[in-house]
C-alpha cells in the first residue's frame, strides 16, 4: 500500500482528496502547511507527496526546493497541485523540481494516472500492486 503525504492548507480540499484517495486504497497522511510538509516528508515515511503550491509558512515551490536540496528526499516523487492551469504555476512547479503537476479541482482518474506512473518509475508499489 503506497503511502501518500498530502500537503494542503484548505481543510475541505484536504478532507475531500484524502477520503477519495483512501477509498482508492492509498494510505494518506496530512500536512497543513509547507513547513509541516517538509518536516513530515523528511521522515521518509512516504512514497509520494501531493503538494499544494499556495501554502502558509513556506509555499509549495519553496518546500519542493528544500526537499530537492536534501539528498535523502532528492528523488522523492512530488506532484504539484496548482490552482489554475494558465497562471504559470505548472512551469514554476516543474522549475522548482516537482515531477509532475495537476490542476485543482482534481479530476481523480487523471491524478491517479499520474501518481501510478511516478510510483512505478520509483520502483515502489502503487495502491493496487503495493504491499507484499
Amino acid at each position: 500500500m503506497a503511502r501518500i503525504l498530502l500537503v494542503e492548507d484548505n481543510e475541505m480540499n484536504r478532507d475531500m482528496l484524502s477520503r477519495r484517495l483512501e477509498r482508492k486504497g492509498y494510505e494518506v497522511e496530512l500536512a497543513v502547511d509547507g513547513r509541516q510538509g517538509v518536516d513530515k516528508a523528511k521522515t521518509l515515511a512516504y512514497d509520494l507527496v501531493l503538494m499544494d503550491m499556495s501554502l502558509p509558512e513556506i509555499d509549495g515551490w519553496e518546500a519542493t526546493r528544500e526537499l530537492r536540496s536534501d539528498p535523502a528526499t532528492k528523488s522523492l516523487p512530488i506532484i504539484a497541485l496548482t490552482a489554475h492551469a494558465m497562471s504559470g504555476d505548472r512551469e514554476k512547479a516543474l522549475e522548482a523540481g516537482c515531477d509532475d503537476y495537476d490542476t485543482k479541482p482534481i479530476e481523480l482518474n487523471r491524478l491517479l494516472g499520474k501518481m501510478e506512473a511516478l510510483l512505478q518509475r520509483a520502483g515502489g508499489a502503487g495502491a493496487v500492486g503495493g504491499g507484499a
Binding site: 484548505n10 475541505m12 480540499n13 475531500m16 482528496l17 477520503r19 477519495r20 477509498r23 490552482a83 489554475h84 492551469a85 494558465m86 497562471s87 504559470g88 505548472r90 512551469e91 485543482k104 479541482p105 482534481i106 481523480l108
Partner: protein, 705 residues
C-alpha cells in the same frame, strides 16, 4: 510814292506783323487765358493806333462782360466787369457784328475812362454764338479804317477758333478726369454704402449727359430674384429701396429679358409698375447691367416731358454708363463676399478652443488667438514679433521645437509634446504645424496647440482604474475558485460513493452539480486569463516541445467531446513536424478551444485538425488548422467572434455552452507569441480557424508588463 502811301504801306505791314504775332501767340497757347493775352499783346501797336486793348468774355449767368486780358491799360482792374446793357462794346455783343465808334466822347453809353478817341468792338463768336468781345481803342479820333476792321476781324475769328478748340480740349480733359475719378472709385469700392454712392454718381452723370429728367440704378438680388433700387435721381420721388419683381415695370422687364428696352409712353404701357403710378414719367429707357451674361442690375432713365421720346441713339449713350455701374456692383459684391469670408475665418480662429499662432518666415509671431493667450498665459501684445520657440519651449524641448518649426515651413507636422506657460508651468499639448502658402507664395506657418493635459491625466486614471479592475478580477477569481473546488470535488466524491452504494438514482443530480460547477470554473478561469492579458500580467513560458506529442495529447483530451455530437475527428500531423519553441500550455489551450468549439457547433460531421510547417521567406511558422462541417457564421458574426463575451448570438451561448471568451483569449495568446489567428466561414457550410505561430516565439512578443 507819296508819304501818305508810304505811311499806308507801312501801316499795312504793321497790321500784318500784328496778326502774325497774334497767330504765333495763339498757336502756343494752352489755355483760354493764354489766347486772350496772345490777342491783346499781339495786336498792341501804338503806330497803328491799337493803344488800348481788352478781351472781354461774356458771363453766361449775368450777361456781364468780364475783362480777361488787356494791353496798354496798366492800371485797369483785374476782371473788370462791364454790366449788361452798359458800355459802347455792348452793341457788338448785342448784334454779333463789328462796331466802329469814331468819337467815344459823343456816345451816350460812353463810360468815362482815359480814352477819349475812337474805338472798334469786334465780337468773338463760336458756332454763331457770341462769347465775348475784343475792344481796341485809340487816343485819336477816327483812327481806324477798313483795313483795320479787316485785320481785327481776322484776329477775332482766329482767336475764337482757338478758344473753341481749347474749350473742347478742356471739356474732354475734364470728362477724362471725371471718368478716371469714377474708375478710381470703382477700384477701391469697399462697402455697400460706397456702392450706392458710386451708383448715384453714375446715374447723376448719365442724367446730365443724356439730358433726361431722371434715372435710377437697381441691384439684382439673386436670392430673392428681385431688383432693389439703390440710386435714384429726379424720377419724381426718392425711389431708393423700391423692390421690383422680375417682369415688374420697365426694369423688371429688362431683368427678365436681359435686353435693353425703350417705352415711349410709360403710363400706357401694359407692364408698368404700380410703384411708379404717383410720378410723372412719360417715356422710359432701361438697360441691363451685365457681367458676362449674368445680371447684376438695371439702369434706367426717364423723360417726364411729353415732347421728348427716347431713340436708339440714347440707348447707345446709356450703354456707355452700364459697364461702370455693372463693375461697381460686381466689385462691391466680390468685396462683400471676400469680407464675409474673411470675417468667417477670422471668427473661426478667434473663437477656436485650439490655441492658434501664426508665424512669419523668420519664425516670429505674427498673431495669436485668445485660446493661445489662455493656454500659454501670454497676451497677444507680449508675443507678437517674438520668436515662438523662445517663449514656450524649455531647455529640454528647445532643439526639438525648433526642428518642428523648420519642418512645418515645408510640410505639416503632427506631434505630441510638452511646452511651457508664461508662469513656468508645463502643459502637455498635441501640436500641429502647417505651412501657410497663398497663391504659391510661402508666407510662414501656423501652429495649433491642443491642450491634452487633462486628456493624458484622464488616460492615466483610466489605465489605473483598468489595472485595479483587472487586479480585482484576478483576486476575485482566486477567491471564488476555492469554494468551487470543494463543490466540484465533493459532488464527484459523492457520485463515486453513491455508485459504490448502489444508490444510482442520485447519480444524475450529482452529475448536474458537478457539470455546473465545472462550467462556472471554466468561466472564472477565462475571466482570469483575460483580465491578466488586459492588465499586461499574462506571462509567456517559452520552451521547446515536440509538436506531435502535444497534438496527440490534445486529440485524446478532446475525444469525449467529439464523440458526444457524433462527429468524426481527423488529425493530419506529419511525423517529421518536429519541435517548436513556444508556450506549450497556451498552444494546447488554444487547440483545445478550437476543437471543442468545432465539435460544439457541428453534429454528425467531420472535424479536421491539420498541422504543417510553413516557410515564408526567412520566417518559419507552424500552422494549426481546424476545419469543421458545422453551422458556420455570417460575415457579421465573423467580425465579432474574437471579441470577449461575443458568441455570435446570446442565444448561442445558452444552446451550445461555453464562456464566449475562448476565441478572444486564443487571439491574444497568438499575438503574444508573435502569430495570429484567421477565420474563414460560411453559414451552413462550416468554419475554418487557422492559427499561425512562429516556430521560435520570442519573449519580445509579449505585451507590456
Amino acid at each position: 510814292m507819296t508819304p501818305r502811301s508810304t505811311s499806308r504801306r507801312s501801316a499795312q505791314a504793321h497790321r500784318q506783323a500784328a496778326l502774325l504775332r497774334l497767330t504765333t501767340g495763339i498757336v502756343s497757347a494752352h489755355t483760354e487765358d493764354d489766347i486772350y493775352h496772345a490777342m491783346v499783346d499781339g495786336l498792341h501797336d501804338e503806330a497803328l493806333g491799337y493803344s488800348f486793348l481788352g478781351a472781354f468774355i461774356l458771363e453766361a449767368a449775368t450777361g456781364d462782360r468780364v475783362l480777361r486780358a488787356s494791353a496798354g491799360w496798366p492800371d485797369v482792374p483785374e476782371n473788370w466787369r462791364v454790366h449788361k446793357g452798359e458800355g459802347i462794346s455792348e452793341r457788338a455783343v448785342e448784334d454779333g457784328t463789328l462796331h466802329y465808334t469814331p468819337d467815344v466822347t459823343r456816345e451816350s453809353r460812353y463810360v468815362a475812362s482815359r480814352v477819349r478817341g475812337s474805338e472798334v468792338d469786334i465780337p468773338l463768336r463760336i458756332d454763331g454764338e457770341t462769347i465775348g468781345v475784343l475792344v481796341v481803342e485809340s487816343d485819336d479820333r477816327d483812327a481806324f479804317n477798313d483795313q483795320d476792321f479787316e485785320i481785327l476781324s481776322a484776329a477775332a475769328d482766329q482767336s475764337a477758333i482757338a478758344i473753341a478748340r481749347v474749350r473742347l480740349l478742356e471739356a474732354e480733359r475734364r470728362r477724362a478726369d471725371e471718368h478716371k475719378a469714377l474708375l478710381d472709385t470703382l477700384a477701391d469700392l469697399s462697402s455697400e454704402l460706397e456702392l450706392s454712392r458710386v451708383l448715384q454718381a453714375v446715374i447723376d452723370r448719365a442724367v446730365t449727359q443724356l439730358g433726361v429728367t431722371g434715372g435710377e440704378v437697381a441691384i439684382y438680388d439673386e436670392e430673392m430674384e428681385e431688383l432693389v433700387v439703390v440710386a435714384s435721381r429726379s424720377v419724381g420721388k426718392d425711389s431708393t429701396g423700391t423692390r421690383l419683381k422680375l417682369d415688374e415695370g420697365a426694369m423688371g422687364a429688362v431683368a427678365r429679358t436681359l435686353e435693353p428696352l425703350i417705352i415711349p409712353s410709360y403710363h400706357e404701357w401694359m407692364g408698368r409698375s404700380e410703384k411708379y403710378s404717383d410720378v410723372t414719367v412719360h417715356s422710359v429707357m432701361a438697360a441691363p447691367l451685365l457681367i458676362g451674361r449674368r445680371l447684376v442690375g438695371v439702369i434706367a432713365t426717364v423723360h417726364s416731358d411729353p415732347k421728348r421720346v427716347f431713340i436708339e441713339e440714347d440707348l447707345r449713350l446709356l450703354n456707355m454708363f452700364a459697364p461702370q455701374a455693372a463693375i461697381a456692383i460686381e466689385n462691391a459684391r466680390l468685396y462683400t463676399a471676400a469680407q464675409r469670408q474673411r470675417q468667417y475665418f477670422e471668427s473661426l480662429v478667434q473663437n477656436n478652443p485650439v490655441a492658434i499662432v501664426s508665424l512669419g518666415l523668420g519664425h516670429e509671431i505674427v498673431s495669436c488667438n485668445p485660446a493661445f493667450e489662455r493656454l500659454f498665459g501670454y497676451s497677444s501684445e507680449e508675443v507678437v514679433g517674438r520668436q515662438l520657440d523662445d517663449l514656450i519651449s524649455t531647455a529640454d524641448t528647445r532643439s526639438e521645437a525648433e526642428a518642428y518649426t523648420r519642418e512645418a515651413l515645408d510640410h505639416a507636422v503632427h506631434v505630441i509634446g510638452r511646452r511651457r506657460r508664461k508662469d513656468g508651468a508645463f502643459v502637455d499639448v498635441e501640436i500641429l504645424g502647417v505651412p501657410v502658402v497663398v497663391d504659391g507664395e510661402q508666407l510662414g506657418l501656423m501652429g495649433l496647440y491642443h491642450d491634452i493635459t487633462e486628456l493624458l491625466e484622464a488616460r492615466r486614471e483610466a489605465e489605473a482604474a483598468n489595472s485595479a479592475k483587472s487586479q480585482f478580477l484576478a483576486n476575485m477569481s482566486h477567491e471564488l475558485r476555492t469554494p468551487l473546488n470543494a463543490i466540484i470535488g465533493y459532488s464527484e466524491m459523492l457520485q463515486e460513493e453513491v455508485e459504490d452504494l448502489g444508490q444510482t438514482e442520485l447519480v444524475p443530480d450529482l452529475g448536474k452539480i458537478r457539470t455546473a460547477g465545472r462550467h462556472l470554473l471554466a468561466l472564472i478561469n477565462d475571466v482570469l486569463d483575460l483580465s491578466k492579458i488586459e492588465a499586461g500580467k499574462m506571462e509567456l513560458f517559452l520552451e521547446e516541445f515536440e509538436v506531435q506529442v502535444m497534438v496527440d495529447e490534445v486529440a485524446t483530451t478532446v475525444r469525449p467531446l467529439i464523440d458526444k455530437n457524433s462527429n468524426h475527428l481527423e488529425v493530419h500531423c506529419p511525423p517529421d513536424v518536429g519541435e517548436m519553441r513556444g508556450d506549450l500550455t497556451k498552444v494546447r489551450q488554444m487547440l483545445l478551444n478550437l476543437l471543442s468549439n468545432a465539435s460544439k457547433f457541428t453534429s454528425a460531421g467531420r472535424i479536421n485538425l491539420e498541422v504543417a510547417r510553413e516557410r515564408n521567406g526567412g520566417d518559419e511558422s507552424l500552422v494549426f488548422r481546424v476545419r469543421d462541417t458545422g453551422i458556420g457564421m455570417t460575415p457579421e458574426q465573423q467580425q465579432r467572434v474574437f471579441e470577449a463575451f461575443s458568441q455570435a448570438e446570446a442565444s448561442t451561448a445558452r444552446k451550445f455552452g461555453g464562456t464566449g471568451l475562448g476565441l478572444a483569449i486564443s487571439k491574444r495568446f497568438c499575438e503574444m507569441m508573435g502569430g495570429g489567428i484567421e477565420l474563414e466561414s460560411e453559414p451552413g457550410k462550416g468554419s475554418t480557424f487557422t492559427i499561425r505561430l512562429p516556430t521560435t516565439a520570442i519573449a519580445a512578443a509579449e505585451p507590456q508588463t
